[in-house]
Structures are given as C-alpha cells and as structure tokens.
C-alpha cells in the first residue's frame, strides 16, 4: 500500500454523529412502512369505501373532502383502492423476494459448498439467467405461463434471484472457512446442522439489507408488469394495474395515475432508507 493511497478502513472514517435530519428520515421511513404493514393487514382501519364498489355517477371526481384521492372511471374511491392495494403489492413484493431468496439459497449453497464442478454448473445457470435483463426475463415467463398474480410473483422472483444467488454464493464462500465453522466441524457436528445453525445465518446477515431494499424493488417490478397488463388483472386494486387503467385519462383526471405511483415511490424510498440505516448499524459505523 502506498503512502498516498489509503483504503477506507485506515481512513478516519467520518464517524460523525448522524445528523438529526437523517435520523428524522429514518423515523419517517420506518413509520411509513409500519403503516403500510398495518394497512396490508387491516385495510378497513384506513379505508372507508369498498375498493370494488362501482358507482358510475361518481366517476372522475377530483380529490376533495369526500374522496381524498378522487374517484376513478367507475366511481371507485381511489384512496380506498390504494389502501387495499397495499395488501396486494406488499404480498407480491414479499412473496417474490422470499421466492427469490429461496432460489438464491439453493443455488448459492450448492455453488458455495459443492466442489468445483457443481460451482461451475451453478455458475452456468446463473449466467443463463443473467443473460436477460430482469424485465425481459419476467416478460418471457409471463408470456409462457400467462398473466395473473401467481405467475407475476414467480416472474418477479426469477428476475431478482440471480443477483441474490451470486451474493449468497459469495457469502457462503467467505464464511465456510471461518473459525467457528472449523470449530463446529472439529466438534463433530452433523453438516446439516452446521449449515443451518452457523453457516446460513452468518452468511445471510449482510444480506438483510439487500433483502429490505429488494422488497421495494420487487414491488416496482411487479407493478411494471401489472402496468403492462401482464400482472394482476383489473379490477384488482394493485398499484401497477391502477396506473395502467388510469393512463388513458391522464389529461383529464391526473389523480388516477398520480396517487398509486406516489405510493410505489414512497414504499421504495422507505425500504431504501430503512435498508441503508440497517446497513450502517450492522457495519458498526454508528457511534
């Protein structure tokens, strides 16, 4: 190492006190996510109308007292639909991420723990999946297996799986030769137990951050597919589907597309902010 270049660990990293405004940001993001989860579990607490009730004479009301976010082309209250859509979107995001993680763990463990051959093989599978940009992969999947919430979850999960798999594999490789694993082996613990109790948790810990942000990403991708008409079919109050149905009316009734999109942005923002906060906590940068 030259004297003119230092790496991050040597630098007196700015272990400054977290400025108050950023702390506020984390609080806001965390609260928003909590509210979202509550809305997903019990939408009736926030929404006062049936998201599917059609009232044609109330069509296209601008946002106002009666309808905070306005009404859509069939007179449905958009605020209620956005709230009920939370359940859909959060469910899809979590399920897709869980699926992606499942695939990633299988692939990553196989690659990281198996011999060179298996590692190459897993590398191949990853290369193939990586050859497509994620939306293109999801489009192909939906093209084959049709649209709907099930294929949507699988397609989104498939899109994010390769990235996670690579990370898991890297982590597994890094962790497998560490001290406590050696110790456990020396103690004669069965391999599965080592994997389950020591290897996996330690390998996964740094990925919690990625997962948190990944849920936000998954929600965006799922919304993109729904927006293209290949995901949750109407009249589902899924945010992407609402955007797609309202797109034709954006010049007359901007509120049909604005609010669902706003919620997607806020969700992604919140998961990113919370994820970064977790990352900094885990790396011990906070004093």
């Amino acid at each position: 190492m030259s004297e003119l270049t230092l790496d991050a660990s040597q630098l007196n990293v700015r272990a400054q006190r977290k400025p108050r405004s950023l702390r506020l940001g984390v609080w806001l993001a965390g609260t928003f996510l909590l509210l979202l989860i509550v809305a997903a579990l019990a939408p009736q607490l926030f929404a006062h109308s049936d998201p599917l009730a059609i009232v044609p004479r109330d069509a296209f009301h601008a946002p106002g007292w009666g309808h905070w976010f306005g009404t859509d082309q069939s007179g449905r209250d958009i605020f209620s639909r956005v709230i009920y859509g939370t359940r859909q979107s959060l469910l899809i995001g979590l399920a897709a991420t869980a699926l992606a993680m499942g695939i990633a763990i299988v692939l990553g463990l196989t690659g990281g723990l198996g011999g060179r051959r298996t590692d190459r093989g897993v590398g191949w599978v990853l290369e193939i999946l990586f050859a497509f940009p994620s939306l293109v992969l999801a489009l192909l999947f939906v093209a084959i297996f049709g649209s709907g919430i099930g294929p949507l979850i699988i397609a989104t999960g498939l899109g994010s799986a390769p990235g996670y798999a690579r990370m898991v594999r890297g982590q597994v490789l890094a962790v497998r030769n560490s001290g406590y694993i050696e110790a456990a082996r020396a103690l004669g613990h069965p391999p599965l137990r080592i994997i389950g109790r020591q290897l996996l948790p330690n390998a996964m810990r740094p990925l919690i951050v990625t997962l948190t942000m990944g849920v936000g990403q998954a929600i965006v991708w799922a919304s993109a597919l729904s927006f293209l008409g290949l995901g949750a079919p109407p009249p589902a109050p899924e945010w992407g589907t609402m955007l797609s149905m309202g797109r034709d009316f954006v010049a007359n009734a901007w509120w049909l597309t604005f609010f669902p999109g706003l919620f997607i942005v806020l969700t992604t923002l919140s998961t990113t902010v919370v994820g970064r906060y977790l990352q900094q906590r885990l790396e011990g940068r906070l004093s």
Binding site: I128, V136, L140, V273
Partner: protein, 331 residues
C-alpha cells in the same frame, strides 16, 4: 491505483503478457457467451411452444380476422406448424446458425428485418439515456461532494428519491406535464431529437440517482485520500483536483455498474417505448408477447441477451485492463 504500485514489476507484468492473458480470457468468455445464448434460445423455444392457444389464429390477424377453413390450413402448412416438435426445433437451430430467425407471425416479415428496423431507435434511446445519466451524475457529484454538509445531504436525498422513481410513473408524469400540458415536446414519435428528450430523461433520472449514490460515496472517500491533499498543496484549483484526479478513481465503481445499467436501461426501454409510442425493440417485444408471435419474441430476446452478454464481457475486460490488480486477484 497509485504511481507506487505501477512501478512494481511483480504487480504489473509487461504489456505483451497482459495482452496475451487478456486475449485468452476474452476468448474464453466469448465461447461461454455463445453457449449461454444457445441455452437461452433452446429454453425460450420450448417454453414458448408450451403456451396455450393455437398460433395459427394469431397469425391470421387475431380476433377480427374471421378466417376460413382453407385459409387456416394454408397458414399451418406455410409456417410448418404441423410438424413434430423435435423436428421444428432441429429446423429452428439450423436456420438460427445461418442467421435466419424465421418470419414474424404478426408482421409477416423476416425477423431479422424487424430487428434491423427497430434496433436503431432503441439504441438511440439507451445510449442517450446513459450519456444523460452520466452527465447528471458527474455534474451532481463533482459539484456537491465534500462541500457544505447540507448541500451534500440535499443532493444525496435527491439521488435517493430519483433512484426510487419507477420508469413508468416518471414517464407518464413527464408526458402529462411537458407534452400534454406545456406542449414543449411532442407526445409521440421516433424521429427528430425533440421526440428523444422526454423518453431519455425518463430513463436517465432513476439510473442517474443510482449511479450517483455509488459515485458520491466513492468520490467523498477519494477526496479524503492524502494524494488529493498533495495535489491541492501543489496549487491545483479545487475544480481541477475534483475533476482530473479524484474523479478518475471515484468513477470505477460506477463503471462496474454500467453492465447492470445497460440491463436496467433495456428493461426500462420496454415500458418507456410503450408510454411514448416510440419505435423500438422494447415495444416490439411487448407486442410480440401479447400477440404470441413466437419467432419475433425469440428473436428479440436472443438479440437482447446477446447484446447484454457482450456488453458485460466488454465491461469486465475493460475493468481488467484498467485495473491490473483485479487480474492478479483472480489468477
């Protein structure tokens, strides 16, 4: 990288050896890439064959076609849809090797011709978006990194928000405000620079947000390095320091992201081309999927995958070339 490491012969083998090493890796990667593409072509072929519904009806103009008996029989024979699956696959591979991607069901044109016509606008869009994104990144990070705290935090917030914006929402908003409302730009079309502005901005902003975050972090770290202090004491202006010295180091993580960035841009192009009614491979792929146009879907997917794989290989090689320490670590 620093001048000290450059001098060390152990860490920096002579030029022709590096070239040979690089060439070997390049050919290995390329061979691997071709195999990957073959696997991709096979997978997509078989998978799309499993789709429900009769492709003949898709060929004959869809729901308002009202085809007759003889018409349908003709089409089945013409497109070879009555042969067994394995034979169709074999024929398909043979033709693929010869560069014949088949005939699109929905457009009755050779797929290669559709690709030739539609690739231009998409390339235009993605390259413009990438350049715009980098411009925004450079402007934002160089001007605001390491300065007053509130400026940095504001910029950081802007980047986070930008990265969180979904393409489709941003596209619609830009369309509504700038094309419908203010009428500054045309709302549709693929010719002329004016139709390029809104779509590329819609693609560039989220990408810029993402790359800026990484570059900012890297730039701020770099600015703290002692060599920067030395440069400053030698009398270089702040701007020159930032731009000429620090940036080159800070930009490396951003470059490594470029591979992923191209993938993200292609994905975004699908949605953006649909929203802005632009000619291009993205919109074409979407319509091909909707119309269950098998040859066209496979053709576009293959081309996209090929470009993506190639781009990633090139970027990896570029990174290797630029940073010999990487080579050493992998050897």
């Amino acid at each position: 990288m620093s001048s000290a490491t450059l001098g060390n012969p152990l860490l920096n083998p002579p030029r022709h050896q590096r070239l040979k090493h690089l060439a070997r890796r390049a050919s290995l990667r390329l061979a691997g890439g071709i195999l990957v593409l073959w696997a991709v072509a096979t997978l997509t072929f078989f998978a799309l064959r499993l789709m429900p519904g009769d492709p003949v009806l898709a060929i004959l103009g869809g729901p308002s076609g009202n085809p007759t008996a003889e018409t349908i029989a003709e089409a089945t024979r013409e497109y070879g849809l009555d042969k067994p699956l394995a034979v169709q696959y074999g024929l398909y591979l043979v033709r693929l090797v010869q560069g014949d991607l088949g005939v699109s069901y929905s457009q009755h044109l050779p797929v290669t011709r559709v690709l030739a016509e539609q690739s231009g606008p998409t390339l235009e869009l993605t390259i413009t978006a990438l350049l715009l994104a980098w411009l925004m990144v450079l402007a934002l990070t160089v001007l605001t990194a390491g300065r007053r705290r509130w400026l940095g935090r504001l910029a950081s917030l802007a980047e986070t928000v930008a990265a969180a914006l979904p393409h489709f929402w941003l596209g619609i908003l830009l369309l509504a405000v700038f094309a419908f409302g203010l009428r500054l730009f045309p709302p549709a079309g693929s010719d002329g620079w004016r139709t390029l502005v809104l779509p590329s901005v819609a693609l560039a902003i989220p990408l810029a947000g993402f790359i800026a975050q990484v570059t900012r972090e890297s730039l701020e770290l770099t600015l703290e390095q002692p060599f920067v202090l030395t440069a400053r004491t030698r009398g270089l202006s702040d701007f020159a320091v930032r731009f000429r010295h620090a940036l080159r180091h800070a930009v490396l993580p951003g470059i490594s992201l470029s591979g992923w960035a191209i993938g993200s841009l292609i994905s975004g192009a699908v949605v953006i081309e649909v929203i802005f009614s632009r000619k291009g491979l993205g919109r074409q792929l979407y319509q091909a999927v909707q119309a269950q146009d098998l040859p066209l879907t496979i053709g576009i997917s293959l081309v996209v995958a090929a470009v993506y794989v190639l781009a990633n290989i090139l970027i990896d090689l570029l990174y290797l070339w630029v940073d010999p320490r990487q080579q050493e670590a992998q050897a």
